[in-house]
Symmetry: C2
Subunit: 340 residues, 2 copies
């Protein structure tokens, strides 16, 4: 351990070991839910593969925990492929995960729209096909803040990914076919939109310094989950105004039916305390009611994060009876659990 | 909204409204689990009181979310009394909560050892007694870092409080008498010890500036959940060394039986990302194994926080068959849920 790493203000040993040591902790804490294959650096559902069940695999750079490893388990993902912090996993990880969870009914890849993830999952799907495993890839691209971004052509995939993993996972658990599971995953992405705001930067273990500079009275309106720029940098405002603008940005793009039932997801980016997340949820519920919509389901907490970034994202998903029932279905993962 | 509050780097409106607006969000998000009595500023389990069941009430300053309001529900607390941020609730809140959850079998007050909380819960218990409600008070004082502190005579009550609420809540749900519920709560406190470390300060909404200053390469070893001083200020170290010292501090005081089964609770203080909390859990599991103990149950996440403080606390509870079974019993609250 060099002197330089001693001043990295984190609970780490060597920065290059953060991901694998954290995965070791996940495996030690939840042996009933997951196992970690350290050779391939993948998190696999305990007891995988489930014969006859469509497998669900996702992955991406680390630093967004509990996404994705915390969502492996009954009723959600079968495997997750964590890359290094803010770095795409490699095709070999994705192929190993695909093989590990193939129960003979095919595998769905849930891919957030970042160029590296998209390219590597595409290659992994081709390699899996060579091995006789049928793969359907589902892209999430729900972030309405910007078209194209630092590491993305088109819109970024963010909060809706959690909802896709839960709902598609429930469909697979209920015996859905490969086409059915992929279809409901795409439907969730199509009916979901997100918007994020950051108050502070994150600090990656490798860099040890803030990813971006931001003034003491400023916020990044439309931030990405790696600190990518949003729509604009502006002065902080009261939460009511920030949430109103976020809600407008999402609803003007989503255009839900009048009186729509929505799943309202208030997500902390890592460094914003829960007391503020519930305050934001209060504003969001009021905004939706003012517009004639109702939040019939919700999720409030840190689920797709950007290390210790202070910030919040809102995701709205237009529900119907099927999506509501799949959301309510039992889930047992490290980070999300009910009905079991 | 004054110009000054615009520069408070938080998602808030007026700082003086943070607690009540956050409670409104909690109520809006979890109507199946809790209701909020805004006149008395208390969080009450939906459907309270439960006839014939011992009621459990806790409370304390806000800023430690999800404690306590996030732990109200089936199998845990019947009511929580949130004070303003880092400020004790008043006896009137505690009395209102006690009355709201009294199902005729008496009420247990779970009180973290801070002078204001202790005095106000004592007065509330006397007032409840005047109203014919029998109250047993259980004090938590598990923090081995220091004797006496900024707001405490004796040891501070910290992480074990979450475990007391879960286990005593399960005992009450299973039909335990007032004496039985209080006894198991005291037993958990007696068999549990905690130790916390901070890397950064928190910022209260009222102050808008850090509670304490700390160097870029320093940690507060033994910090309290309001930023109270610990044993010493020292240079940051690798996580393995920090966790080893925390484990030593706890085990040398707890003196568990050789080969003890432990509940190992790695708690984030609010601003430390989950990737680090699992890395800390990995170190803790190794430390325990090296000492011949086994973590047969665990909890990893942000459960008793200090706003956005970067830091972590470890709580170890020496289990037995009864405590293990009560820990495993169903719980359904906003922040902790399984078995339902």
């Amino acid at each position: 351990m060099s002197v330089a790493t001693q001043t990295l203000k984190k609970f780490v040993n060597a920065p290059e070991d953060v991901v694998k040591e954290s995965l070791a902790g996940l495996a030690a804490a939840h042996p009933d839910v997951v196992r970690v294959d350290f050779e391939n650096q993948i998190v696999v559902r305990a007891g995988s593969p489930v014969a006859g069940k469509v497998g669900l695999v996702s992955g991406g750079g680390s630093g967004h925990e509990p996404l994705h490893g915390g969502f492996v388990g009954l009723g959600m993902l079968d495997a997750a492929c964590p890359g290094e912090v803010f770095t795409s996993p490699v095709p070999d990880q994705m192929l190993a995960a695909t093989k590990a969870v193939d129960g003979g009914a095919g595998v769905v890849h849930i891919v957030k729209n970042y160029t590296g993830d998209v390219l590597n999952f595409k290659l992994a799907a081709e390699l899996a096909d060579d091995d006789g495993i049928e793969v359907e890839s589902v892209l999430t691209n729900d972030d309405v803040a910007v078209e194209d971004s630092t590491w993305t052509a088109g819109r970024r995939g963010v909060g809706v990914t959690v909802l896709v993993e839960k709902i598609a996972g429930a469909r697979a658990e209920a015996g859905g076919s490969l086409a059915e599971v992929a279809a409901v995953a795409r439907r969730v992405n199509d009916r979901g939109r997100s918007f994020g705001v950051a108050l502070t930067s994150c600090v990656t273990p490798a860099a040890g310094t803030p990813t971006f500079d931001i003034g003491a009275d400023e916020m990044e309106f439309g931030v990405g989950i790696h600190g990518e720029p949003g729509r604009r940098r502006e002065k902080l405002k009261p939460a009511a105004e920030i949430v109103a603008e976020m809600t407008d940005a999402i609803l003007s793009d989503l255009s839900p039916a009048p009186g729509a039932r929505l799943l309202a997801f208030v997500n902390g980016l890592g460094g914003t305390p829960l007391i503020e997340l519930y305050l934001v949820y209060n504003e969001l519920a009021k905004q939706l009611a003012d517009r004639g919509h109702e939040a019939t389901r919700n999720l409030v907490g840190n689920y797709i994060t950007s290390l210790e970034m202070a910030g919040v994202s809102i995701t709205l998903l237009e529900l119907d009876d099927e999506l509501t029932a799949l959301w309510d279905a039992p889930v047992h993962t490290a980070a999300l659990r009910w009905g079991t």
